[in-house]
Symmetry: C2
Subunit: 224 residues, 2 copies
DNA sequence: CGTCTCTTTGAAACGCGTCAATGGCTGTGG
DNA sequence: CCACAGCCATTGACGCGTTTCAAAGAGACG
């Protein structure tokens, strides 16, 4: 496990102080770490496993915002007083995370300005990510959005194997659909098409990308 | 002009210090304040007029993210070292804004932690805004997205007149289309439909909402 | 008064959502 | 060890919402 970007620029003493204040937590698959609409109590850093962040609209539609893997943090909004989570965080596999209650994280980020800056930087990174996501939803077609989503998943949390880049956590068609703003049917159709074209391999809840460049081409192609 | 949320919780002295460090700037319509991809040099607070924040994708498609009106700030990313603007800021009408170069805003936010917290809070607010925007793009139909976008514009920067709530800056069909992820044709069709239904009044680059509740109903209706 | 930008409306094509039915993998209990 | 139940995935047919393309009208501005 390498040092997460959250700790960059911090002295060993500071890192120790932060770690000492953390409360480790184990999560079973499908267990909730945060619930949309509830007070934003904790800030968390995932060490092992993956969370999925999803949002349900007033109409009841579910959207998947992103996956949070080892070294990624979640819940920066907990640093803002009296805030509530805009989305829910659910473990997709067995998970270990460090958590800091609001009071503690607030105190730490106050005492260690560099930590606050790191979280600030992380937030702006996330912001540009969400912006490009919105951009794609607004302007691109389903095949391109799906291809890009797969490439991002592979790049962010993929493990390289002889058989291609495997996405290192379970992903269902339904989840890919919620991530790209489409239906599981369309996802299924596109992925079997790509599988016969030799671009990727799929299993139940698993995806491996064989030909990233080919997918990239599918992502930028205007017409099939 | 009332105090912007950016200054909340700051002492008069602190506010004076911040204002003293600002560089006022005048913008003509269509003038650029920031350009996507360029180093994020300045943080800005709009006093008069409106900016539009828009993003162009690699494919050349243009998306409108939001409008920035009096009291709103822009460019929090300038507080992050070596960052670049993820979008462009362009004046839609005559504009006056206070601007702080990166060095200055960085120093101020370092010296005045409350200012940094305010900007942090603003960022998280923007984040949840962009998240619901993505949510809507992913799950809702064009009429609902457009109705909501109009209601938001009216709520955020609308002026109440005897003839309804007017959106206080020029907005073209094209811009509404870029805001909602559709085409100006569809926007035009929907708006003339709503105009004959008595929900709103339109002119060239102007919109006034007559019946917010009616629009709200159109926004939540599953089928027409 | 002419030009440019913004807007309207129509008709046709198509992407993709929707519904329905089937098939396969996984884990569980007899 | 086999059978069942439940979840996940596949595939087809159909219909509707939107985009696309074309062409013309209406304000605004110099």
């Amino acid at each position: 496990v390498k040092a997460p970007p959250l700790f960059s620029g911090l002295s060993a003493d500071e890192q120790r102080e932060i770690l000492a204040a953390a409360r480790p937590r184990q999560l079973k698959p499908r267990e909730w770490l945060a619930e949309q609409g509830q007070p934003a109590d904790i800030f968390a850093l995932v060490q092992v496993g993956h969370l999925k962040l999803s949002q349900v609209s007033a109409a009841g539609a579910e959207t998947l915002v992103r996956f949070v893997g080892p070294g990624d943090c979640f819940g920066a909004i907990a640093l803002v007083p009296a805030s509530r989570y805009p989305l829910s965080a659910i473990a997709v596999d067995a998970c270990r995370a460090l958590t800091w209650p609001r009071q503690v994280s607030g105190g730490l980020s106050h005492r260690i300005p560099q930590l606050k800056s790191n979280i600030f930087e992380e937030i702006t990174r996330r912001m540009t990510g969400v912006l490009t996501m919105a951009q794609e939803l607004a302007t691109e077609r389903v095949p391109q959005r799906l291809a890009r989503a797969l490439l991002r998943l592979a790049e962010h949390g993929g493990t390289v194997t002889p058989g291609g880049i495997e996405i290192s956590h379970p992903v269902t068609r339904q989840e890919l659909a919620e991530l790209t703003g489409t239906t599981l049917f369309t996802v299924s159709r596109l992925m079997s098409q790509w599988e016969t074209a030799g671009l990727l391999r799929t299993g139940r809840g698993a995806v491996a990308i064989l030909d990233p460049d080919g997918l990239e081409a599918a992502a930028s192609a205007e017409n099939e």
